[in-house]
Symmetry: C2
Subunit: 433 residues, 2 copies
């Protein structure tokens, strides 16, 4: 039979998997540093639950099937499972509820470069009952900022906006009935020419003069302080607009209060995140020198997480990192950090098989001292053993021969700088550790 892995499913060699796992660990560690607790919902759910609030595209992409009496589906994101989780367990949760989840999700898209059918999402959300402090919208910025720094990623900017500002502006222009369509269009502004943008607004039946005002509005630029000043200068009294502006100002100032470098945050009035779902702050993150990656971390504030499942109101704010795609893009551009083809720090080899027992005893000692170590047990020539050590790029090589055995010590070679010395067990542990 022909063996193969399905198209669109990432499968890495160990040396790449080590990097991927390290990235996952850094993300999880950072999320916990900010007080987010882990949850782990099933990959399989009732199709009814997953599809309760989705649109047509999702339904076409979903992996679903009948098993016994149940119509099942594989999750296509971690947000719907979170909505289910809060609906089921809210009486047992402590609010504000800060959760993170790192897990695989499934979309049966047509496979193409950079699109995966199975991929990791790394999500955080903060949810409260009835009301959630706006300071958490700044905290989300601090999490993205810290994660990206700890991942040693290329220079990046988090673009931020507040949907109330644009909604309020549309209300002030008296074209609020078109808000949903306009927000979707604004989301595309960077991908289409201005003329096409104005044309599509015209097709919606909106008057030319208002369309030009709208275009000028979303093109407002400058530093964060300059944009805020320009927005204030518009003297728009609309309540939505004013609330959004106040929120945006608070988020920017509290982000700095939390210690974020101001250069990494940029207000961009054209960011709307197409989905109707979001109601306030919205985020997108781009690498300065790799805009072609698209947004590598996005999210926003929403009024009500679990509205499909229950009457109670749970507002929240959250973001998601699409890790599989990010990893793929970084790899393609030679931007991966935290390398290493082996988890081992030390490899023991012997001049002859008679020292195998001593070598095995030594790796036991090293591991008991929390040093990842291994022994080359294959009965092959010494030269082959050296080739193996070079191939796996081992940081420390330990050699046991007649002389070492007689003197009860070891030859330790630092493979990075190429130096070697004769050491006792105690010295060896100290040096390698």
């Amino acid at each position: 039979m022909t063996v193969r892995t399905l198209q669109g499913f990432m499968e890495l060699l160990p040396e790449e998997q080590i990097v991927m796992n390290k990235m996952k660990a850094v993300i999880a560690h950072t999320y916990e540093l900010f007080g987010f607790a882990p949850i782990d919902t099933p990959v399989l759910e009732l199709a009814d639950v997953l599809l309760s609030k989705s649109g047509g595209d999702t339904e076409k992409q979903i992996y679903e099937f009948q098993k016994g009496d149940n119509h099942l589906a594989m999750r296509f994101d971690l947000t719907v499972p979170l909505a289910k989780y809060v609906a089921l367990y809210h009486n047992n949760l402590t609010f504000p509820f800060k959760r993170y989840q790192i897990g695989k999700v499934y979309r049966g898209e047509r496979p193409q470069k950079g699109r995966f059918r199975e991929f990791y999402q790394c999500d955080i959300d903060i949810i409260d009952r009835d009301e959630l402090s706006i300071v958490y919208d700044a905290e989300v910025l601090a999490v993205i900022y810290t994660v990206f720094n700890k991942l040693e990623l290329p220079a990046f900017k988090i673009y931020i906006n507040n949907r109330k500002i644009l909604s309020g502006f549309l209300e002030s222009l008296e074209i609020a009935d078109k808000t949903v369509d306009v927000l979707r269009l604004v989301d595309k502004i960077k991908k289409i020419p201005e003329a096409a943008f104005l044309g599509e607004l015209g097709d919606m039946g909106l008057p030319e003069e208002k369309n030009q005002k709208l275009l000028n509005f979303i093109k407002i630029n400058g530093s964060n302080q300059e944009i805020i000043a320009k927005l204030e200068d518009l003297n728009i009294t609309n309540e939505n607009f004013q609330n959004g502006l106040e929120e945006l100002k608070t988020v920017i100032s509290q982000a700095q209060n939390l210690g974020i470098n101001a250069d990494n945050i940029q207000i961009d009035l054209s960011i709307t995140r197409g989905l109707d779902y979001y109601t306030g702050t919205v985020y997108e993150t781009f690498f300065d020198d790799y805009p072609q990656f698209g947004s590598v971390c996005s999210g926003g504030r929403y009024d009500n997480l679990s509205s499909v499942f229950m009457d109670k109101k749970f507002p929240g704010v959250g973001i998601s990192i699409g890790l599989t795609r990010l990893f793929d893009q970084l790899r393609d551009n030679n931007l991966l950090k935290f390398g290493g083809p082996t988890p081992n720090k030390a490899l023991v080899i012997t001049q002859s098989p008679e020292f195998a027992d001593k070598a095995i005893h030594l790796i036991g000692q090293l591991r008991q001292n929390d040093i990842p170590a291994d022994v080359m047990l294959r009965d092959c020539k010494f030269k082959k053993k050296m080739e193996y050590a070079n191939k796996i790029k081992i940081p420390y090589l330990i050699i046991i021969g007649e002389d070492e055995a007689a003197n009860n010590n070891y030859t330790l070679k630092n493979m990075t700088i190429g130096e070697q010395s004769r050491v006792t067990l105690e010295e060896l542990i100290k040096l390698v550790k």
Copy 2:
């Protein structure tokens, strides 16, 4: 609509998930300490690939479905995906290949207490081309021993046997043609009465006198050295028997050479692991005081991993921990370690909302010093804030009021011992860290 999670799918509250994740991290860390590199194969594979060597029971339990042109299935273990992985990538792997994989697998069993349809397996395997040193069979013992100790699990024993010994014994009795059936029956010896055991052997058409010899053989007991001595005293010249005995002796002595406490390993000649798959060393692990848990870590040596997929020979040895079931059993018996309802080490609360900015600035500082910290932002009475701190069992509480703000310091309360003191930022970071 009625929201629910599917039966047989474990879903934990955050305080339990923190424990589960800590266990997963300890297992992964220990596997890496022994030089195992991670791999992460897809949950979905071609059904043909997954079912290539499985029997009838697996096919009934598998989650499978058609999507487009492909017949897909969710993996039911991590061994078949490993066989596929080695078949696909062996030219890019360095041998001996030591891999670990921790991931969810799926079996559509009838749900019942202690049985899960989605559960974590934590596997290690060591694979080589053509031949694999027997020392790795001892190394696997060292891994189980270390993982169980680091997980702070109850007193346990790893039961070990070598299938060649029993096969050789059956050959010497001249009933080798019944080996497969006999091994399956021996595997059940602890669950059925001796009379039933002898009866079933009789039903296979075996003579009474040989059956009694077989029963006496698998009941041989004593310390490891005593059992080995008794086996040697049998003076069986059969080659298979002698090879198996030699291997067993090497595994026991090298395990001690690796630093394992001899009390944690026990030879048990009745351990066969029903599957035909295993060809040498076999392992099962039981808690001394909780035999009803069944084997919590099992595995063994096999001659050829990927025989269904290719001609090349890849012998290996490996074990698997069924983590979801183990977690469930430990929880039911109040044996879980590493508790904690929150990842946070410190919580900041204020005497009045005017100090919120100072509190937010402080948590930024703490996190920059790698201390997981949070602030209670809800505008509620001080008493409510104290209740919240107690509810999440925070280790350190930090209070900011008028006096603290005026003196630029903080009240730090160690919630474990109940003491509190007034400290500067520097002192605070030092104390909490």
